[in-house]
Symmetry: D3
Subunit: 254 residues, 6 copies
């Protein structure tokens, strides 16, 4: 279930990776015994446990609409990071960053799913970061797609729905400009020093679901932006293959 990038190293990146080289990606489905769908996603040392829980109640604005909903929550274990962070439950509120990320994950998955085919029920995605080495939000999205797929498959198997509502694949990867070079899938060492940082959420049909690109230090230009977008397409191609492998047992593929 693992695709290893060729071992040619490069002096440009702290990890020795070439600019267009992803970290080692793993998607391990069924990582939790109870959830209707789950996936442990790893982008190198970044590890996120994604679960999908089916709730037969929908938010009040969807009652009697016949349509379903997908929502997401995100959290980091206090020592998932290099130095320990405060526990959000102890501080009594989620940070702005946490809320921004969980809104992003939910929005991305809702764009990909046919909410009418899901029926009037809600799927709650939980993305909990066990270890963080940069790119947790992009890893979360790629893994959450697998968890969501299995939860839907579960409904299909139980004949609670008739059509699998997740027809399009969604994956995400970061790109950035690090020491003047456009690089793919930033790890923490790069992320904390990059001039520009972008997250690209893309579909396996060449569509764009969401783009967020930010100049951390100096404004970037159109060409730099387009170079990042091109690298991102390379990166997600690899993840799409691994997602298909992670759902292969159900769809009878190899």
């Amino acid at each position: 279930m693992t695709i290893t990038a060729p071992p040619l190293s490069s002096p440009l990146r702290p990890s020795g990776r070439r600019p267009e080289q992803m970290r080692l990606i793993r998607l391990t489905p069924a990582a939790n015994k109870y959830a209707e769908g789950s996936c442990l996603v790893e982008y190198g040392d970044t590890k996120v446990l994604c679960t999908a829980s089916i709730d037969e109640k929908v938010p009040s604005f969807l009652r009697n609409s016949g349509k379903g909903w997908v929502t997401a929550e995100y959290g980091m274990l206090p020592r998932s990071t290099h130095s320990r962070s405060d526990r959000e439950a102890a501080r009594g509120k989620q940070s702005g960053r946490t809320q921004e990320i969980q809104r992003l994950i939910g929005r991305a998955l809702r764009s990909a799913i046919n909410l009418a085919d899901l029926g009037e029920r809600q799927i709650k995605i939980d993305c909990d970061v066990l270890q963080a080495d940069g790119g947790t939000r992009t890893a979360a999205i790629s893994g959450a797609w697998v968890a969501l797929w299995w939860a839907c498959q579960n409904l299909l198997t139980q004949k609670l729905i008739t059509t699998h509502p997740l027809a399009v694949q969604v994956a995400a990867v970061s790109c950035g400009i690090y020491q003047g070079i456009t690089v793919l899938d930033l790890d923490y060492a790069e992320d904390s020093a990059a001039e520009t940082d972008g997250n690209f959420i893309l579909t396996n049909q060449n569509g764009i679901i969401e783009i967020q690109a930010t100049a951390e230090k100096t404004p970037f230009n159109d060409d730099e932006f387009l170079a990042m977008l091109r690298l991102a397409r390379l990166g997600v191609a690899e993840i799409f293959a691994l997602q298909r492998a992670a759902i292969a047992p159900a769809i009878g593929q190899k």
Copy 2:
């Protein structure tokens, strides 16, 4: 201080505007008696009061660094919207949307300012929406830049700094795909029905500070994205002119 767009109307947009036509934009500096810098910004019926308050204390991570900081807060009056929303102070917390927007405003302004020239002090930007008809975050950024500029000018006049730290103009505008047409500066009627919605924060030197583009319903493609970016450049050109007018009294221009 107002530039009126030509009155040719179009049946395509609810407002009758042509696809590349901005709403009537106004930037009124000195809109608050006490703040070191302030600006009332209007994008049509969207009205945001922006103030810049100088605080001689910096966050602890900058103490003794010689560098300053810019931070932003955002809020909406409960009845700024079509139907009344709950007051965040009464609910006891800021929504994820509020936090996302205020983080965006702060990040955009910090990208434009020379924090060393500001000296070891903090400028707090408050963007309070008096009336909301779509595009509040982009209006807030364009108006906040004017408030921030005047607060810096204030420091310069008092000889507390020697160089105006805000050398580059920053403005923001939204673009979207509405009924298949790429349009500029969405109002609420368009925003709530658009297929795709993007916010572009740009500099007057052709740089990109931040881009956020989201497919609300169906994924978009590269060409659609580039068309939005081109429209955005048209829109901010108009705002840059109005910003210069809003600071003209100090820089001796007309």
Copy 3:
């Protein structure tokens, strides 16, 4: 819509006003595009935006009673004051002062309205201070009355009610003892230094709705109290005239 006090100045008060002289008062109705009723009220440099929002749901204790309810919320923009205050939404709770003031506004308006004539619905008043130079709570009450009146008129026009439920006018003004002199309508310079400070909420039929008078430094006596009450009656007479002007378009008066 403005009544200017005669320009005779006095050395006794920081503003040069005579003891019985109000600041310049303005009441601008329809200050918000969406609210069912609204009014921008100014007492000199104090500016409060008041909106009235109709909600067809009443609090649970009034369900099936046939009676309505009026409630109020109050807030200050962070930089409405001379130096910036923390944003209550960011701190996560409303201060005791805020709660005290919004309870006062709600109580005052409920005393003036016929809740049975309003029908089983709720009107929510929002008073947001854009700029504060003393007397924000009294300005809020006088302006909220106008916003509430228009919201009721709106119901009447739509034939949702048959009798305008607001038959009595309510206005408020502060009085105090400043450097031994009893003065009307204190501004911030006086308020922060006054020996005694009182708020008087009165009706246009000589009734008293609420009186709060506090010795800030030394206790006061009955005569001083009565002198403040007499001045307050002078002050509200002026406001009652402006309130009538602010509702004149609807009642066919000039």
Copy 4:
């Protein structure tokens, strides 16, 4: 330590009291083993435990000023009332009513004490309602004065201060208009049905510290207000005598 009012009853009030008759008042000093000053105050069935705790730290705005501070907190036990109320600690915040009352108590006591004679320390008053039958805030003020007096006496005995800083007595009582009659010291049965309700905080030197009078149903007039003020002076005279008794052991009086 108890003054019993004459037993002549009246049909006008639920309790059978005459209009100008107080409930049975008790002030029991030293009601808590640990506090520097304490008093259990009873106004009939209303019972409030008041403690005064000395804290050698002052709020930051008084540091190095040589002046002290007095602050107060108020709470009700959940079943102090006829039907159980939610516990504020469990709900996670103090109600607006609680905050309003504790601000009132603190303000009243600060008006009476010489903060310079107290020295740079803070006295924290806690008023906890064990049983509530109307008038808890007025009982709290009268009892808190005794607790505060003993805490100051304690400082004097320890020679930490040289002058007792509490030279004036402060007591409070409610008055109201009940079924058209002006009555003194309302109990719950009257309070919940009164047309008008006022709280009077007065000194033993004929001064007024604070007056709050509110029309619950119909506005009141000047004469009614003055009648309430006259009754209040009768009521506090009785309390002043009991306060002197409660501090008699220290001042060598009977």
Copy 5:
């Protein structure tokens, strides 16, 4: 209603008590005018006011079950302790200690009551510490039992239930190892210095409801544990007698 332990003193304990000697225990029923059941419990200088309030609504998980529920809340007045503690309502949350204790009280009482005989209603116990000298949680349980008994008796008298649901007595006492000696009913001086501290909640039929024993400094062994349990049985025997006296008026005993 009081049993005094023999006055033989001992040099081993700060209070001079013998190892197996309880403090003076008092249980005063009907200590609150409004509650359906109440008891002021004193273990020496520790004083806790316990009330039982009947609520005809049960938690949702018991609706239509025919069964009732008992729940408890615990609080300390800020100056119940030697030095003043923060008020939990002001801090905005209950401490972990408070929650632990109130969960313990509720659990203990639910173990003793026949929830089916109680019928589909809830009894809410409030235990508020007026003065704390160690052992507040054990005092609270012993007193809460009396309050709960009277609330049930109240239901029986009103013929709302047919069988008194509280057939077994529950009382609690602490034991500990203090300077190497196993002692009963620790006061604050002992509690804060004990090597081991345990709370024993026992029934009058030799049953154990809950045991919590903690090594504060060094681990203890089985024999030490059993010695504490034996002392605890002695202590509760005394409390059971006082509980019977506190309910005697209803059961016609002396």
Copy 6:
């Protein structure tokens, strides 16, 4: 690193285990890349990730004492349980149960460590439940001991301390009475139906650190309690062996 219990099954327990049979226990040290010490502990399907983070600051009451401190936090991932629970960070507070457990873990570890040998620093233990099948608090304690041991070893290796401060082993296990039989190491199926449930925190030197035993339905007696204690000693013996294996690489054992 795994000891498998003999496969003899029993009809008495849902899992087929014999009364005195533990689940399969695993202790995997170094389960987190960044923490100074860490351990993934598994009691059957219960999985808890424990990390130990060194913080050079101590709580203020220990400043300049030369002594260190150990504290613990506990959390459950929302879908660690059979059905999804609310995320505590989203609800804005930790439940009473969470606080009770994290206080228990901290207390247990502090009893075992020599705080003077640790030096003036704090070790923060985080126990995050990835999957919950009963016994999470006991698993957390056994695993936290390993994480804490490695964090101390880390200090020793860096020569920041001279003596390993954790000389005694601490482990915990639950026992209960399930369908009349005393059983060891309850899983969720047993835990939710047990008559009595106890947690035993014991040392490898026969000492008791903490005992909590609760009658869920009917009171238990002394013999039943002692039977549970005996079983618990059997259970922890197994865990002590696995703890030694988990630290073997450092202490040169096999």
